[in-house]
């Protein structure tokens, strides 16, 4: 059968299986098994365990559970509310200070926890009620946290970036560094919109009258700064090429767990078990999808789908920017329904050769892809962050959260446009720090 026609069948089967409610990992295994059976018969099935095992048999993958553990330790502690409190004390005199400090707290906490829903929950629990109490519109309060939470997958260390690095065989340290400036740019765009929308809706900027003494401003520093130092240390070890991601992440994870025990007195076995249970749950879920996606790519390339699809797109000789637009629309569509990790694992190995052939930088593309995935986190039907906010602030209607979040989608699209116009935003810092990519 023509591989292109076959790829259509695979696409339909994948959509049908994934939309039935079957989990993403097992769904990919089922689709792959079906097509392997169809192609090679029963004898083909014997290869499946070896392919899954082979995909997971990599020391680099260990960085995923390690970074998740690092984030789980931070997310289960009171670090989120302390960080929130710290920033709101420092930024109290800034016009619209609370929403700005909330977004700042989201950006920092997303670096510490590496997870979007955890950031939304940790900062939102304190931030949303406080903002509503001080007269910010509910939509602004909920929307800014939902959007701020999405920064978790862009600002390093980010599990999403690690997954991209592993599935495309690009340098994880370089990917992390590439995410820093776009992450800051996106944070600034979010802040600008938050200040503007507050000003427009309340006809005047909400300025807090509460004043804090220097002592009050400094007293929370010793709790938060060590966590930030760990992140800086991990990034330094990575970009300096001192250690591999798994080594840096394991040391970071141990340090974060020890800090959580010492600073937040999380020494009770039940509390520690919650950290490990959350870490195990998320790591296993992601690792199963990784193993399954290994089988999925194996099936695609043994049916010559990957190669034919790439050749077909190259033969069309599209304008590179037209191609990029189409890829963005595709990613956006996939991100509406699927979790970022699944989209990256399925799409990145197929898209990367096409992207590189068209002359784009793979690290720049990682950033564009990640921002696309961030959009999916705050848009229906499965916008995870919207539901997290809905869970922690039940008195705000889902509709209000959604309308409050939508303008931030505009900010992200603007960020993608800016990245296309000025690719240096993503590529300059890695080149400056690590030299040109090989």
């Amino acid at each position: 059968m023509d591989p292109l026609l076959l790829s259509l069948f695979v696409l339909i089967a994948t959509i049908a299986v994934l939309f039935s409610g079957i989990s993403v990992g097992f769904g990919l295994i089922i689709v792959s098994t079906m097509f392997i059976l169809w192609q090679d018969g029963v004898f083909g099935l014997a290869v499946i365990p070896e392919v899954i095992f082979g995909k997971l048999d990599s020391f680099a993958l260990l960085s995923i559970p390690m970074f998740i553990l690092m984030g789980a330790a931070v997310a289960s502690s009171r670090a989120g509310s302390d960080l929130y409190e710290l920033l709101s004390r420092w930024l109290t005199r800034v016009p619209g200070g609370l929403v700005v400090s909330n977004l700042g707290a989201c950006a920092l906490f997303s670096a510490m926890s590496g997870s979007s829903p955890a950031t939304c929950a940790a900062i939102g629990k304190m931030g949303i009620p406080e903002m509503v109490k001080r007269g910010y519109p509910k939509g602004v309060a909920a929307g800014s946290i939902a959007a701020g939470g999405t920064l978790g997958i862009l600002i390093p260390p980010s599990v999403t970036m690690i997954v991209y690095g592993i599935s495309t065989e690009t340098s994880i340290g370089r990917l992390f560094i590439a995410g820093i400036l776009p992450g800051l740019m996106l944070t600034c765009l979010f802040m600008a919109w938050a200040i503007y929308s507050t000003w427009r809706q309340t006809e005047g900027v909400v300025v807090s009258s509460i004043k804090y003494t220097l002592k009050e401003r400094l007293e929370l520093m010793p709790k938060i700064v060590p966590f930030l130092l760990i992140i800086v240390f991990v990034l330094w070890a990575l970009y300096g090429g001192v250690a591999t991601p798994s080594e840096a992440a394991a040391v970071g994870a141990l340090a974060c767990v020890v800090l959580a025990i010492v600073v937040y007195k999380m020494w009770k076995p039940t509390v520690l078990w919650h950290v490990f249970r959350d870490c195990t749950k998320e790591s296993v879920m992601i690792m199963v999808i990784i193993g399954a996606s290994g089988l999925f790519s194996f099936m695609l390339s043994s049916l010559y789908i990957t190669q034919s699809l790439a050749q077909w797109i190259i033969d069309m000789q599209l304008n590179p920017w037209m191609l990029m637009l189409m890829i963005n629309i595709f990613l956006l569509g996939a991100g509406f329904f699927l979790p970022p990790v699944a989209v990256i694992l399925m799409a990145a190995p197929i898209l990367l050769p096409i992207i590189v052939e068209a002359g784009f930088d793979p690290y720049w593309f990682a950033v564009v892809l990640t921002i696309n995935m961030e959009i999916g986190l705050i848009t229906p039907p499965v916008g995870l962050n919207l539901f997290v906010i809905n869970g922690i602030a039940p008195d705000i209607k889902l509709q209000t959260i959604l309308w409050g979040s939508l303008p931030y989608v505009g900010c992200m699209v603007l960020a993608i446009v800016l990245l296309c116009l000025f690719p240096g935003i993503a590529t300059w810092l890695p080149t400056f720090l690590m030299g040109p990519a090989v």
């Binding site: 097992f26 048999d57 296993v284």
Partner: protein, 179 residues
């Protein structure tokens, strides 16, 4: 039936704790590796391989536990759209498909394990781990996931929403009585 479900849930929890302990152990082993390599400047032989196999073991053994917690992420558009009864039917169909896939992989990975056992296969590194040990995790993990799925099917009549974890919803009384 209830006893079977309880036994399977207990097994899944044991797997979950084992997986968590494997991840915990990896943290220490990698930190030991870092200490050996960067502080003592000594070469390391076994650590990289062992932690990779621990991670594979944690993934495989963690599968039934994560299913118990309903932690395997899915696209829940269709389940959310459906009413209670059709949602249960959909769950049953999904679970039956997943049971067959897991059973197929459990069977073929058991075969791989037996081959590695009989042939005395070892990893290609200097350390040369006997490969049956990491291979064993696959038939165990997929096999126990099949058991967990059958337990989920048995609980179908007693839950409101089978797509949610049991701990998040009240259980309907059973006709055979709580034993």
């Amino acid at each position: 039936m209830l006893q079977y479900v309880r036994a399977v849930h207990a097994l899944s929890r044991i797997c979950g704790v084992t997986a968590a302990m494997m991840i915990f152990a990896s943290v220490f082993i990698v930190c030991q590796l870092v200490f050996m390599r960067y502080v003592l400047n000594e070469s390391t032989v076994w650590q990289t391989e062992i932690v990779t196999y621990l991670m594979i073991g944690a993934t495989m053994l963690g599968m039934p536990y994560v299913q118990l917690l309903r932690g395997h992420i899915n696209v829940d558009l269709l389940p959310l759209y459906l009413k209670k009864a059709p949602r249960k039917v959909l769950f049953a169909v999904c679970v039956l498909i997943q049971i067959s896939a897991c059973a197929v992989i459990a069977f073929y990975s058991a075969e791989l394990f037996l081959q590695a056992w009989d042939g005395g296969w070892r990893s290609s590194s200097v350390f040369g781990t006997p490969l049956w040990i990491p291979y064993l995790a696959m038939p165990l993990g997929f096999g126990l996931t099949v058991l967990q799925y059958t337990a989920d099917l048995m609980m179908l009549s007693r839950v409101d929403d089978p797509f949610l974890p049991l701990t998040h919803q009240p259980l309907q009384p059973t006709t055979e009585g709580e034993r």
